[in-house]
Symmetry: none
Subunit: 193 residues, 4 copies
């Protein structure tokens, strides 16, 4: 087989387009075309556009979580972990600009039905972050805050900066350059004991 398997091509095409254009501006035809796949095949692998979108988001979240947990395991000092976790979410604009945007877009899905499903995914991710925070609190590495709320706050901060950084002006470039660092600084001050 000279091409990656169909399923992967579809998800990858979905990731790119959903991130660049959002959910509604991306048509199944667009995804099929970019993935070099027939529309029929899209529906062979995913029951609906919603499910494809959810799969794309889920995958992106999971990749981020795996990376974050990896960092935790290494026993670094708290502020360093924070910096790296944020950097990971913020996500190497160099390598994967689309994913960073995709995650930021997850915040406010416009279709109510989709929202319910997405917010579950988001909660899962936030819960995972919250657990990490809770552990850091128990260890005395950060001050006692509401873990889930702090998790959402961190994700919100990162999302806002990410979306701003995706634009094409001087500010965006500055954010891309120093955003992760500044963000980590803010987060560390917000959480330090």
């Amino acid at each position: 087989m000279s091409q990656p398997v169909m399923l992967e091509r579809i998800v990858e095409a979905g990731r790119k387009l959903f991130a660049r254009q959002g959910f509604h501006a991306t048509g199944m035809r667009d995804i099929a075309k970019l993935a070099q796949v027939s529309i029929g095949s899209l529906y062979h692998y995913f029951r609906s556009k919603d499910e494809l979108f959810l799969a794309v988001v889920r995958k992106a979240f999971e990749e981020r979580l795996v990376q974050a947990r990896e960092l935790m395991r290494q026993g670094l000092p708290a502020p360093e972990i924070l910096r790296q976790v944020l950097t990971v979410y913020f996500a190497g604009f160099a390598k994967e600009p689309e994913t960073a945007q995709l995650l930021s877009r997850v915040w406010a899905p416009e279709d109510p039905a989709l929202w319910r499903k997405l917010s579950a995914l988001l909660e899962e991710y936030a819960q995972a972050i919250a657990e990490i925070l809770a552990e850091a609190i128990r260890a005395g590495a950060i001050r006692p805050v509401h873990p889930l709320l702090a998790a959402y706050a961190l994700l919100g901060m990162a999302g806002a900066i990410t979306l701003r950084a995706a634009q094409k002006d001087a500010v965006a470039e500055e954010f891309r350059r120093s955003g992760a660092e500044e963000l980590a600084e803010l987060a560390w001050h917000a959480l330090r004991p």
Copy 2:
């Protein structure tokens, strides 16, 4: 006149529906129906759906800005101002739950054309917040941070919490009760000198 003027009814209906369901899930018919107005009238007052949406968002932002600047003028201590500004953005879920959601939804518009217009509005708002922060920095009330970036971070934090708080479970209720307070605490720690 027994009813509020048409224009107000339209904007109000738009505010509610856009906030509840997002941009795409809200049809012009829905707005017309809720506003008890003909579709034609919608287009009498607004050139397009985009323009109506922008008007709704602009109004919401402006109201928030006015309130925030009011607080600044009163010369309260920095952490108190921060708390109140966030509370204002967070926005009396009791009184206007929709507006709070609306502003949070502004983050990731799905239509590229709309995005350009919206991000300009958002930038305007963020700039205003940034100015407030810059002044506080000059006054030594908060530590030196990148004002615009910090502004976006604050808005992102507040947006994330707001959206989570709009759901209908126990967590949401908890966030609605103590979210503004916790958020202000986080923000204050992030920014204190």
Copy 3:
């Protein structure tokens, strides 16, 4: 009164716009704007858009008829009359390009209801031309042809050339320059005894 009366301004604006853009592409708003009149006034003078259009066409036809009959009365030789009549229909592109187009557009109204009314007007005009032809036949100035059919044929010829001449290329310019002459030549050969 410094302006021509309202009714005239309306008809004139209608003539220009209907000729330039056709019936459907011309909105009542456009006419009102060009005539510097309120929409309400349009409906004060004309029951409907159809009626306004018919009035515009009727006026244009009548002007042409008056001119044609004038020529008949002068007792010129048949081919000369023909030339002048065609020139008149063809209509001084220099002076009134719109009217020439307007009359040509009358051929195929797209609304069935409008068509019935328009074709009556057109028939009236064709009948008048036919009478002129019939008289010329009786006088032996032209050969015996079916007068009404010939009238329609002449109008069709002139209409086709007129519309082609209204375009903006070299051919159109040539048609504008020598169209009337060539047309008269063709008509004269077609009808000479």
Copy 4:
């Protein structure tokens, strides 16, 4: 397969309705219904209503041209060719009344954008007629006239008669019976050496 293929059904339905009612009075829904096809299918085969209309017209023109060129090849005497060409354009009201009307309606499209495209098609057709005329002039079969102008004149004549003949009164019936013959006579006199 018990029905003709979809594309053909669509074009045929378009031909009938556009000819009967004109462009604007014919809705995509009407065409879909007559063709027993879904609206979606219309857009599967044609990018827009304009394109469908142009396809319908193009086909009609091409059929006429093929027939006319066929006649030329048979080496008949000039007046006979003229008669037959006109008969062909005039076009068997018995067999295809709609097409005859359709072609006549092409003269004055009401939408400016559509006009540009249509006039190109019309020019192509007129050019083809003009070439036939030019050849006849070279052969001395007809007198030297401006070929393109004469072509437009012939088409205009035929169009006018055709539209008149499509009505439902005694005159129309007469035109249908003897129109082609009379028209050929007129044309022949106009062009004979």
